[in-house]
Assembly symmetry: D2
Homo-oligomer: 152 residues x 4
């Protein structure tokens, strides 16, 4: 699968290294499926300790994984020395987050020196592998240069 | 503290009972500080297993607590037999989620038979008790009647 | 061009009829390029009376056309007797709305009895026909049944 | 009425001068009611050429006025030489935009060197002066320095 963006040397390593420092990704058991310039895929399994009152994965956990996916899609295109922070996102929930496992796919729509606009989708998979669109995110990401406490 | 909305009998009990069934609230160690008609306050402590790459609480965890706050603010005004589902939300991140503990405050802006519009704010507190606004959410909540699998 | 949705009889006529009653569409000189089940394309020319302080089309006018596009994409799939109202939308502005003419493309992502989730994109075209993505919208649309004052 | 922000010299003049160059404000007949540091109030009358299919003011026109209000609330706090551009906004529609006239009130929630977060509300007024909340906006505004074509 190709991408419209040109890769910086070492973009996979820097995304992976930063991702591995997100402790919450371990708590949710998220793993990286694919990294391409401006695109990322993440996966996580159903866990009963992440559910809302009906036994579905909580909307906020869906948001957590999609936000990381959007952030790292943006980060993959950022120059050396830039750190990534989410300014804001908006998320629509299309169907309940139930299933055996979930995949988040995020892509950069537009990138700039300071601001990157991203889109993400989260899919659920049943035991039989049936795919369903659970949520769509639009996120705005900022490149931060030389800010104390947020080194890459 | 008063509210512009009129209480249904038993609204505190039904909110508390539903909140207690959200397993993810236990994982994040969220507790209810206050419930009023159309308003709720939730609190949780800093936990290193919920952080992003700079050691702040992940934006998605902030979203998780604010989404529950908005949902239960809406749920507190819903009639008997209605279940609550988030249609969508938008969240802005104003400062890093660092601190000793965090408080989410959510209020209903407009309520209707099917749709409730809510607003929430999340504050951080340092050890010395200094308060800072971390994030603002605008969320749209749906009242669901008689849908299989989503009884209150 | 095909669509994932099945057409109701007369969907083009009902969309066109409702669109023609939107007086603001005449003020902005918007015309319908295409209607398919769950999809619509609208077009309008640059007009200096719709500009912001730098001479670009105002972000709100971009929003107006995209909102109508999203609403009518949703309306095209609604049953007889349903009226369409926008609950909320979120829009990102990717590049200045400058050019000779503009095209809005909106599609339904998920449709339900009460709630339809839509996505739209607005493109600018220079005199030479160069296309640029100006804005992306995610909108939530409600089907309204039997409400006074909002008959289709 | 006071504000939490400190005024730059000449902030009213620069906001007014920029506002007066927005041609679309004349088309919608918007006038400035008040400017304070980080806050603005705008007003406009009902006009039948700005309506949607039920005769209400179109959601996009509501967005246009709220977006200008949010942008100028942000601009009032920006340093000399900064231009204002909307990155994105989200708007919820709480009741139909019907009435004799409308007022938009916007305030800055957080301001920074590059990013300002704003909130706005639009109210309708009947002939008898009854006020109703029509829409709420959350908008993210960027300060642009030295970009060609967007001088203040």
């Amino acid at each position: 699968m190709s991408s419209q963006f040109i890769a910086n040397a070492g973009y996979k390593e820097k995304v992976t290294e930063s991702f591995n420092r997100q402790e919450v990704m371990k708590t949710i058991n998220v793993s990286i499926l694919a990294i391409r310039p401006g695109e990322i895929e993440l996966e996580f399994p159903y866990q009963s300790n992440l559910t809302q009152q009906h036994g579905f994965i909580h909307a906020g956990i869906v948001s957590t994984v999609l936000d990381s996916a959007c952030g790292y899609a943006a980060f993959s295109l950022m120059p050396e020395g830039a750190a990534v922070l989410t300014i804001e996102f908006k998320i629509n929930f299309l169907s309940p987050a139930k299933g055996e496992r979930f995949k988040a796919v995020a892509k950069v729509k537009k990138t700039g020196k300071n601001i990157t606009v991203t889109e993400g989708e989260l899919f659920s998979y049943s035991e039989r592998g049936n795919q369903k669109l659970v949520a769509t995110m639009a996120g705005t990401i900022m490149s931060v240069y030389d800010r104390e406490g947020v080194k890459n």
